[in-house]
């Protein structure tokens, strides 16, 4: 366990204030229960997400760098971003500012124009909620703190794409035992197994859900999500655990759309990994926002004696 990770800066990003509301709620509830302190980044802005990246990638790098600058200004050297998109973009900004002189120049110019300190690479480390919980708490402590084991619950862990791709922006991964793998990520599996869950072998854990194209090409997104849902069911899972608000919403929405448009019904539940973890720690289903999910898991949670 790393003691300096007990209190970190928290960058929820926009999704966690909207469709990812339950992810935000459950992340904060789990942190509180584990005695961890999340201090929200003051006056944070959009990370640049997909939209700005497409229009002007340099501004996207600057926007993420400004979040890192705000974090540094608050006296933190670690920021935790639970959203895969935010996490990915902050990591990408770090990579760009380390390897690309032009990005450094543009970031400096825009930072000066905006009137804040220019962020310099290496000052702040960006963590995902998975990295953070693994390093700040660890599997042993999670096991010790479990009050309602997830025993008997079969989970397919779905990581999506932006947690591991592109590989070059995650230099800390693939460093051997104890580190995360980009080819076969396992931190979510490890944490939920520590809480008693039975992880199923799920071969589509990093497969594309078509999330970025959900509006421009809904049919492709629906088919990709349906195949993920079907594969999870075929692997014996009761629930798909997610760690990305975009994947989560996509799976939920396309589960409904697949039934309406294609007549293909799937029953597998979809929950944020922090919700499952929170339930295992003894938190109520309301406290971890189970009632805020589009996919209704309340009956499942009650039936399994959780929450």
């Amino acid at each position: 366990m790393e003691k300096d990770l007990k209190k970190v800066a928290y960058y929820p990003g926009c999704a966690l204030e909207g469709t990812g509301y339950a992810y935000n709620k459950s992340t904060k509830a789990v942190a509180k229960e584990l005695g961890l302190d999340l201090v929200e980044v003051e006056n944070w802005n959009c990370c640049g997400a997909m939209e700005v990246k497409n229009i002007d990638p340099e501004i996207e790098t600057y926007l993420s760098a400004r979040v890192l600058s705000q974090t540094e200004k608050m006296g933190f050297d670690k920021v935790m971003a639970p959203c895969n998109g935010c996490y990915h973009n902050l990591k990408k900004a770090e990579h760009d500012l380390t390897h690309d002189a032009h990005s450094v120049e543009v970031n400096d110019r825009l930072s000066k124009k905006a009137g804040h300190k220019t962020y310099e690479a290496g000052k702040v480390e960006t963590l995902h909620a998975l990295d953070w919980l693994m390093r700040a708490v660890g599997e042993e402590e999670i096991s010790r703190r479990v009050r309602k084991s997830l025993s008997g619950i079969k989970v397919a862990n779905y990581y999506g794409c932006m947690y591991t791709r592109p590989r070059r922006i995650f230099p800390e991964k693939d460093k051997g035992p104890g580190t995360e793998s980009t080819a076969n990520p396992h931190f979510m599996d490890d944490l939920l197994a520590a809480a008693g869950a039975e992880n199923v072998a799920f071969p589509l854990k990093t497969a594309c859900c078509g999330g970025a194209h959900t509006l421009s090409d809904s049919d492709t997104s629906t088919k990709l999500c349906l195949n993920i849902l079907t594969a999870a069911e075929a692997s014996g899972a009761d629930v798909i655990a997610t760690e990305c608000p975009t994947c989560h919403t996509g799976l939920e929405m396309h589960q409904i759309r697949a039934e309406k448009v294609m007549g293909r019904k799937t029953k597998v539940k979809i929950m944020h990994f922090t919700q499952l973890l929170g339930l295992a720690l003894g938190l109520s289903s309301r406290k971890v926002g189970v009632n805020d999910n589009f996919s209704d898991s309340r009956g499942f949670v009650k039936e399994r004696g959780l929450g």
Partner: protein, 156 residues
């Protein structure tokens, strides 16, 4: 013997047909079904390479044509790495079946491999319709495309 590659629609139909087979039928010759699934994956990637104006390689990478085709398909298109793990999972499941065709888990492994092959067909089929699928997420493009394409394509 050279096979005639199937279209992506034909691959999807073949996956549906495999899905519909009862477990007993899959259990009669698991190795043959595993090989067929690998060929389905190759056909998907060959369709991508052909659509991009290339000639699908007959070579192998790490002992598999599927992985060589993926490497070829990702050249200059880093977002094609979005299906890198899917290809590797297909090879992995193929190997699991071949390692122990008599295993009681062989049928389940074939069922999962069918879904993996279908996902590959859906992703590549989707990418042929909307080229950007996987661009700004998996490859973090379009950021300085010329600069990022080469190193990412080598990650296969």
């Amino acid at each position: 013997m050279t096979r005639t590659p199937r279209s992506i629609a034909e691959v999807e139909a073949a996956c549906d047909a495999l899905d519909a087979l009862p477990g007993d039928a899959l259990a009669t010759d698991p190795a043959a079904h595993a090989a067929e699934l690998l060929h389905l994956g190759e056909d998907v990637l060959a369709a991508w390479v052909t659509a991009k104006g290339g000639a699908p390689t007959e070579g192998e990478s790490e002992g598999f044509r599927l992985l060589a085709l993926h490497r070829q398909g990702a050249r200059g298109t880093p977002s094609f790495n979005a299906c890198r793990e899917t290809c590797r999972e297909l090879v992995y499941h193929h190997n699991l079946v071949l390692d122990d065709p008599a295993s009681s888990e062989a049928v389940q492994r074939l069922r999962m491999a069918t879904m993996i092959a279908r996902h590959l067909a859906l992703f590549v089929g989707g990418k042929l319709v909307v080229d950007g699928l996987g661009d700004f997420c998996c490859s973090s493009r379009p950021i300085r495309q010329g600069e990022t394409a080469a190193p990412e394509a080598m990650e296969t």
